[in-house]
Subunit: 212 residues, 2 copies
DNA sequence: TGTCTTATTGGCCACTCACTCAATAACATC
DNA sequence: GATGTTATTGAGTGAGTGGCCAATAAGACA
């Protein structure tokens, strides 16, 4: 009998409990989708009653939105760590190689699903919408800074780092729009599209951003 | 009193009734999202009882999937009508101009929303997933044929029409991923990206595909 | 006009959701 | 050890969903 019975209550500091909930919600959202981030589901995940989750999140929308932000913030740091002020020659190129290598790997699929999920759900949930916009900006700015650093270091050329960052992100989003349906016969033409597009955008010879 | 009371029953041929339902479901899905395509909602739309919709669609998944297919088929025909075998010189260019002009207009927003919606929902609903894959192929092939016609007519150059079509669609999908969140500061860099990308892909001078 | 097929109704079920709230018990503080 | 605060429970509510089915009546056909 591993089961049932009124478990002993565990009483935690509100801040800690809340943060536990967001973390659990982020895990569920990333693995199974934001629709599965419900008061009950998160409660089960933590071994508490759903009423408690409702207590910390009087509107379930906030929980979903914070789950999204938590997951994407962590992911961004893993994909594209903040650059030092002067990454040295080739530093920006290495960062971009790493980014494209990671985003085109299957490990990125759940993140693609999460973004797709959030971009759609934002249609109905205003709170989530605001968080998505915020994360969009964060991701864009992070890429912009790498591009700017690369321009600074003469690694490549780009008249408008912001515009380039925006367009590179559009390409990433476009290429990952098919996570749930499978690319099928379209896999091959898509495979190197993002990298190639970025190379064109930055005036780099084809293949420069290919990971070794 | 425009309301209530047991309305007189209207008895229709099964095929007609079913097709009415799909049409109504497509309308709801396009305007409000596929999540709103429920047995009850479609029933209300037609002024019948939900049990009747359940009778024609024993699994609600089929209704949602067929709603999607119905809406996207109609949209595709409107965006990019089937080409005649030989569209004559400049015909392909005109078709692409029209396509990009329409997809970048605000009238296309609901279609963007629908695709985003379906691409996400396909994660959970296998029947819808199959329909999305099918429509994806249809849209791609339609573009491919225009590209092939343009190559044939020496309007532009392209080594692999299929790959070009796939990538152009990726660009369209990427650019329309922000319908629900608003492009904000990113609007300008995105604005001409699809068209420009297509011009590069087809070896055309920048601006060739701009609509007059 | 009467009969029969079946499209349609009306009502039900079991489920899940967010949300509410009085009662309870864990822990800090005295 | 007694007391008070409050994190947590347990048991609801109401609204929404898909799905099921016997009873009903519309319309075609004899």
């Amino acid at each position: 009998m591993t089961s049932r019975g009124p478990e002993k209550r565990v009483r935690k500091a509100p801040a800690e409990r809340r943060s536990e909930m967001v973390t659990a919600a982020a895990r569920v959202g990333l693995a199974e989708g934001l629709e599965c981030v419900t008061l009950r589901r998160v409660a089960d995940e933590l071994g508490v009653r759903s009423g408690l989750v409702g207590h910390y999140f009087p509107a379930a929308d906030r929980l979903v939105a914070e789950a999204f932000t938590s997951a994407t913030m962590a992911e961004l740091d893993s994909l594209l760590p903040e650059m030092s002020a002067d990454p040295g020659p080739g530093g920006a190129v290495r960062a971009l190689r790493r980014l494209f290598s990671l985003t085109s790997s299957a490990d990125f699929d759940n993140v693609s699903r999460l973004w797709l999920n959030a971009r759609h759900l934002a249609r109905y949930r205003p709170v989530l919408r605001d968080h998505v916009i915020e994360q969009d900006m964060l991701w864009c700015r992070r890429i912009e800074r790498v591009v700017a650093a690369g321009v600074e270091a003469r690694d490549f050329h780009c008249a408008d780092p912001w515009a380039a960052a925006v367009r590179i992100l559009v390409a990433i989003d476009g290429a990952s729009a098919y996570v749930n349906t499978g690319a099928g016969h379209r896999a091959a033409p898509i495979a190197d599209m993002v990298r190639t597009f970025a190379e064109t955008e930055l005036g780099l010879p084809v293949g420069t951003l290919e990971s070794s």
